[in-house]
């Protein structure tokens, strides 16, 4: 579903992402892990077609992100790190707006009803998005990102600053979407979430340090290490 080939992004002298390659299969929950500033967000933005790679490319849902970034946009869902919806619009209005941008005219009602139900927002449809709790905001953002049934969804640190209960609900929804064939790419720096991924990639200073299932990654670094230990070790090795 996704194939990154030697993705590189430089901002002036700084190389934010340095020759990253990986493949992600259909319906996988794929984690991109790494400390702040390791290039997770930059990688995701390049995969979404909103940032042009300095070199390399990626094929996302059969489309080349360098050659046709606009075609990528119609086939993916994206949820930015900061809450990116309109705080002065209600839950329903936000859903209707994004349904419209994704080209849904008459069927928006049906899709919005689906999103409200699967994101568990039944009690909040008439509330302004700005007044929602952190967990509700995050699920609304996910709802807007999957309205148009994209085969690939990118979530940039979706669970940052959300309480543990809301995080658990959110993961249930992610697993549910993946079980129906949606490929989910999620960045995080919460190590306790790492075990939830089908496969994961460690990024540090823009370079790919390890790729595989949680068990494989653990095995590669030593059987008795937790993912958290590996995370810390990788970071220390860099410094």
């Amino acid at each position: 579903m996704i194939e990154a080939r030697d993705l590189t992004k430089r901002f002036g002298d700084v190389t934010a992402v340095d020759g990253v390659s990986f493949t992600i299969g259909n319906g996988e929950i794929y984690g991109i892990l790494g400390p702040n500033g390791s290039g997770k967000t930059t990688t995701i933005r390049m995969l979404c077609g909103i940032m042009r790679p300095t070199s390399g490319t990626a094929i996302v849902a059969d489309v080349d992100v360098v050659r046709d970034p606009d075609a990528v946009k119609a086939r993916i869902g994206y949820m930015s790190q900061a809450f990116g919806l309109y705080r002065d619009l209600t839950v329903m209005e936000n859903l209707r707006f994004y349904a419209g941008l994704y080209g849904m005219d008459r069927e928006w009602k049906e899709r919005a009803a689906w999103a409200v139900e699967s994101m568990r927002l039944q009690d909040a449809t008439r509330r302004l998005a700005g007044n929602l709790s952190g967990g509700n905001k995050q699920r609304l953002a996910l709802g807007c990102a999957v309205l148009h049934r994209p085969p690939v969804v990118f979530l940039d640190e979706p669970t940052a600053g959300v309480d543990p209960y809301a995080r658990r609900v959110f993961w249930e929804i992610i697993r549910d979407l993946a079980s129906r064939g949606t490929t989910m790419i999620v960045t995080t720096h919460y190590m306790d979430e790492a075990e939830r991924f089908d496969r994961l990639a460690f990024l540090s200073r823009g370079r790919l340090k390890a790729v595989g299932t949680p068990t494989e990654v653990k095995a590669a670094f030593g059987e008795n290490l937790t993912l958290e230990d590996i995370f810390v070790e990788l970071q220390e090795r860099d410094e």
Partner: protein, 374 residues
């Protein structure tokens, strides 16, 4: 570009506009307040200048002179000065703006046929005001002179003078500045609100983080820009209508020409200003920068367009800079159509220039706005 996406963006802007009560109140309240303030306050025609009188002559003739000055409506006697120095001091203090000094021998000289002199002191710190006053005072003197010469030449005092230039003021016979000002206010208010509000709109999306979510959707630049300005264009039309109606009721502004022409041309003017606002929006990073950049355009717009000062009196450079502002052409069209009854054909050159500027500004902003985040 799909009509559906365009409609949805305009719909969203409308909801946001409706919920932002202070801004909405400003957009609708400002035109009315400015109309009243400018309509009543801007008086190019200075009337009733306070005047002091220092009359040493104290005669029938000297009183007549003061009366004649007052009869021009340019002066009102506010003070009697006991001495010349005191008259000057009154002007210094700002108690009066002019003083008439009539010497002791004024009536005597007049009767004997000798040159009779009276002195007029005018506070000329404001050239506009003083020029009017000076002209009025000179006119009074000349009229008196003609009367005397006519008698000497053997004519009776009420005979017609041999030469006379009759001035007939066209379009605004009462020479009221408020009538001239109202069309200007329409143009000024439109350009201020359109420019400031749209210059904030893209930046606001950037500041609130909503732009990032927006550009991962298939929405195009044109759809986004056009969808954003449509609701504000509607606000612009509401403003024009409000000022036209109030200008007519309160200031009795005549509408000689076809209002339909005004409404058609207004569309081009609005698009030009919205385009300029969007362009600013793509140049700046924060809402406060957008605000400052807008003022950078608003001030020269008002000063160089002919709203305040006649463009004919400007140095060539200022006049040419003014040609880059849509307001310059729009004002000519408004004044032409509303006050003089100009037809659409009459204002075609200015309309053409508005079209050119609208295309340039709007085109620039679409090119500048990148859908890629860098």
């Amino acid at each position: 570009m799909t009509r559906h996406r365009l409609k949805r963006i305009a719909w969203k802007e409308f909801i946001q506009m409706r919920r932002d009560r202070p801004t909405l109140a400003m957009m609708l309240g400002i035109p009315i307040i400015q109309l009243l303030v400018f309509g009543y306050a801007i008086r190019m025609d200075v009337r009733h200048l306070p005047m002091a009188v220092y009359d040493e002559s104290r005669t029938q003739e000297s009183r007549e002179l003061v009366q004649k000055l007052e009869a021009t409506d340019n002066f009102v006697v506010k003070r009697r000065a006991p001495s010349y120095d005191e008259a000057v001091r009154m002007i210094d203090r700002g108690d009066v703006r002019a003083a008439i000094v009539i010497p002791e021998d004024y009536a005597r000289h007049l009767k004997r046929g000798l040159p009779a002199t009276a002195q007029m002191l005018v506070d000329a710190s404001d050239p506009n005001t003083s020029q009017n006053a000076i002209a009025a005072a000179q006119l009074v003197g000349q009229r008196r002179l003609i009367e005397i010469l006519a008698v000497r030449a053997g004519m009776r005092a009420d005979d017609r003078p041999p030469v006379e230039i009759r001035v007939r003021p066209l379009y605004n016979p009462a020479l009221k500045s408020s009538i001239f000002i109202v069309p200007g206010i329409i143009g000024m208010i439109l350009s201020i609100t359109m420019l400031i509000i749209t210059s904030m709109s893209i930046v606001r999306e950037r500041e609130f983080g909503t732009l990032e979510q927006l550009i991962v959707t298939p929405v195009t630049r044109g759809e986004l820009m056009l969808g954003k300005i449509l609701p504000y264009a509607l606000v612009g039309y509401v403003q024009v209508t409000a000022v036209l109606i109030l200008g007519r009721i309160i200031f009795g502004m005549p509408v000689v020409g076809n209002v339909g022409v005004v409404y058609v041309v207004t569309f081009l003017f609005i698009v030009a200003n919205l385009g300029l606002g969007l362009f600013i929006s793509t140049l700046v990073r924060t809402q406060s920068q957008a605000m400052q950049a807008s003022y950078f355009f608003v001030l020269p717009n008002i000063l160089l367009s002919g709203f305040m000062f006649p463009r004919e009196g400007m140095p060539p450079i200022a006049r040419e800079v003014g040609l880059a502002f849509p307001l310059t052409y729009y004002l000519q069209i408004l004044r032409g159509v509303l006050l003089k009854g100009a037809t659409f054909v009459d204002v075609l050159p200015q309309t053409g220039m508005l079209l050119v500027l609208a295309t340039i500004f709007f085109g620039f902003s679409v090119v500048r706005f990148r859908k890629q985040l860098e």
